[in-house]
């Protein structure tokens, strides 16, 4: 009863809440880091150093008037942000924050579930999110959002291919689709896959920037061109859902990168006995630190780079990243077969 029902439910509640809090603080982190990069201070008014800003933002967004344009497709308009948000959250079901630990005399796994096709589940569920953007642009019945959602669908579909191909290379290395299994494979190989698959890792990082609509690939929202893109017509909490989904996706991508390429919850050099004094640090801390590095990188890139143009983005995706990913996959396969 407790093992089968209460603990999973507790884990779901914790992960869901932690994610939502993480997402709101991710917004603060982004505003702060970009502000520092631009020699500003960022939010400073709400709480010391703006630490309570996410709460103020949440309250503001919830109290805002929720406007539906008169000529919008009302049902689709309402559903679109939900379609965006839900996949971004349920992906967390298979992300391993840590291994099995004993807590209050009970063996508890630090992940909600470990299914044997975990990676496939993440890829397929995450790609549903794009429907939210497409439908939002369509349902708004407005020209700028429509253009943005066309951009979004083209962009997300083309980068999905490259990213998934790099994931396949990793699966070839680990021999399993289970997220926990992939971390275990890195443990037994004594190697983080980022060092075994540097090309795949590079493509994954670029592709995931594009998939999460982040700079320099933030074309669907390109404020300077499309005045906010697909969420132009949205306000209040519905707008907030798109916003939360974007940041939740960033955290997902960072977690996947950590798990696949940087050994998940493993400490650096897990096979070096000399570093075993680091073992007092709980395993999930390593996971969070590694993910944080990725999130910081996302923000850093946004503060630095100009935006790609639509055609250049497609060219980069189809003519460079996908061929490279395929070559990498074939090469990995050949080496695997030769070694075994």
């Amino acid at each position: 009863m407790i093992d089968g029902f209460v603990i999973p439910l507790l884990k779901i509640v914790i992960v869901l809440n932690a994610t939502l809090v993480g997402v709101t603080y991710m917004v603060l982190l982004e505003r702060k880091v970009i502000a520092w990069a631009q020699s500003r201070l960022g939010p400073m008014r709400v709480g010391p150093h703006g630490i309570l800003q996410p709460i103020a933002d949440a309250v503001k967004l919830m109290l805002k008037e929720d406007i539906t344009p008169a000529r919008a497709d009302k049902w689709v308009f309402t559903v679109a942000p939900i379609i965006s948000m839900v996949p971004a959250l349920i992906v967390y079901a298979v992300i391993p924050f840590g291994p099995e630990v004993s807590l209050f005399g009970r063996q508890v796994t630090l992940y909600i579930t470990d299914i044997n096709v975990g990676l496939l589940y993440i890829v397929s569920v995450a790609s549903v999110g794009v429907y939210g953007i497409i439908l939002a642009g369509y349902a708004s019945n407005s020209k700028f959002p429509l253009l943005a959602s066309l951009r979004a669908s083209a962009q997300l579909i083309s980068y999905e291919v490259a990213v998934t191909l790099t994931l396949v290379s990793v699966v070839l290395m680990s021999g399993t689709l289970s997220m926990v299994g992939i971390v275990r494979a890195q443990e037994s190989a004594h190697l983080w896959f980022a060092f075994a698959q540097p090309l795949a890792f590079g493509i994954f990082v670029i592709g995931s920037l594009a998939e999460t609509n982040r700079a320099p690939f933030d074309l669907p929202e390109a404020e300077q061109e499309l005045t906010g893109g697909f969420h132009t017509e949205y306000s209040g909490m519905r707008f907030a859902l798109f916003f939360l989904a974007e940041y939740a996706n960033m955290i997902v991508v960072s977690s996947v990168a950590t798990t696949l390429f940087f050994g998940g919850w493993l400490r650096p050099f897990p096979n070096w006995a000399a570093l075993s004094f680091l073992d007092f640090i709980p395993s999930w801390t390593w996971f969070l630190i590694k993910s944080f590095v990725f999130l910081y990188f996302f923000v850093w890139v946004r503060a630095t780079l100009p935006r790609y143009r639509y055609d250049q983005l497609m060219r980069l995706g189809w003519k460079l990243l996908i061929p490279l990913a395929i070559a990498n996959l074939v090469l990995t396969g050949i080496i695997r077969v030769a070694l075994l």
Partner: protein, 375 residues
């Protein structure tokens, strides 16, 4: 604009007509651009102006000659000092007034400081339009230093009213020249910082190279001036060709581009930053002693006649055409040749066949100020 045409038989593929502006984050004020799109490709555009028309030219005909200086501030409001210089010199030409050398030096100095401030604003917004938002804040940080210098000189930060017919309203404060030189030193290093972020950035180059190409002949046909003309390789600069203020005593180069694309216009303006700093250093170090106002009559009443005088504003050739009837204390006819208005004519030709994202890049590349376009 005619109705969208239907092409193809199977599918209903209309051209999409969208309205960019007058409220749009990248049309730099209240410019309205009606785009006809085929997918994301721009088939044709209509540039609609007039949202900021305040009738400055007509207003000027009912103000006395000194009051007009204040109105010229409000045309190109990010480069008010150059507007003032242009107007005052035109009236001086009409009255054949001699301006003391010190005043001419200070005018040169202010014009070049203003050019840097204006280019800072251009660089920031242009980079922002292309998505590099950090440069925007860096450029504004340095623009702030110039505004501080202006504030110390005349008390205002945006609309200076900083010239008088025949000279200057006040002398530069003591110690001001040292601050100017200090600013030059800061600006030198900051320019390298901007260039590090943009000039060799692959995305920046891809976004600006071969975008909005204008050949030298086209640029001349369109009547362009300033950096858009020089970017196309035409070495025309009023400061060199028809020197005014103290430019004949200054040593500087006129940078020109080769390809006439957005990247070249960018490089030309970046080099202009450096040349302006060079002029500022010369003008500050060689600032002569002497009076700051020439022999100006108490009542300014130019003799009957007409004159045209042009200066090189940060945007291009800023000309004033003024007719005086010799009887009244206000001009009979007052007309401005605004560089932004003339340069804006190139937009339609440049955006054709490009993508939506290029439209904002090209508006930024022309560096128009709507206050000056509409007046």
């Amino acid at each position: 604009m005619e109705a969208p045409t239907v092409r193809g038989e199977m599918f209903d593929t209309n051209e999409l007509v969208i309205n960019m502006g007058p409220q749009h984050p990248s049309t730099h004020g209240v410019l309205r651009v009606v785009l006809r799109l085929d997918g994301e490709k721009v088939v044709d555009t209509d540039v609609i102006i007039g949202y900021l028309h305040r009738g400055i030219e007509k207003l000027s005909e009912n103000r006395n000659w000194t009051q007009i200086i204040l109105l010229t501030d409000r045309m190109d409001y990010v480069a008010a000092a150059t507007n003032n210089v242009g107007y005052c010199e035109t009236v001086e030409k009409l009255m054949s007034l001699e301006v003391p050398r010190r005043a001419r030096y200070v005018r040169t100095l202010l014009c070049e400081l203003q050019r840097i401030a204006s280019h800072c604003l251009w660089l920031g917004t242009h980079a922002m339009d292309i998505g590099a938002m950090t440069v925007f804040l860096y450029a504004f940080r340095e623009r702030e230093l110039i505004l501080d210098l202006f504030e110390e000189f005349c008390g205002a930060r945006l609309t200076y009213n900083s010239m008088r017919i025949g000279g200057l309203p006040m002398d530069v404060p003591s110690g001001w020249d040292k601050k100017v030189l200090e600013f030059c030193k800061i600006m030198d290093s900051k320019l390298d910082e901007y260039e590090e972020l943009l000039t060799h950035n692959r995305i920046w180059i891809e976004r600006t190279k071969n975008v909005g190409v204008l050949t030298a002949a086209e640029a001349i046909d369109l009547g362009l001036s300033g950096p858009p003309l020089r970017g196309s390789g035409v070495p025309r600069d009023v400061r060199k060709d028809e020197p005014y203020a103290a430019y004949d005593e200054m040593e500087f180069d006129v940078p020109i581009g080769t390809a006439g694309d957005t990247y070249d216009r960018y490089l030309v303006r970046i080099e202009e930053f450096r040349q302006s700093l060079r002029i500022i250093r010369q003008a500050t170090e060689g600032l002569p002693e002497g009076p700051i106002v020439g022999k100006v009559p108490r009542l300014i009443k130019p003799p009957a006649g007409e004159t045209y005088h042009a200066i090189e504003s940060p945007k291009g050739e800023l000309g004033y055409f003024i007719v005086s009837d010799g009887k009244s204390t206000n001009p009979y006819r007052f007309r401005v040749r605004p560089p932004s208005f003339c340069n804006l004519q190139a937009l339609r030709r440049m955006v054709r066949g490009h993508l939506v994202a290029d439209v904002v890049a090209l508006i930024g590349s022309l560096d128009v100020v709507l206050g000056e376009v509409d007046r």
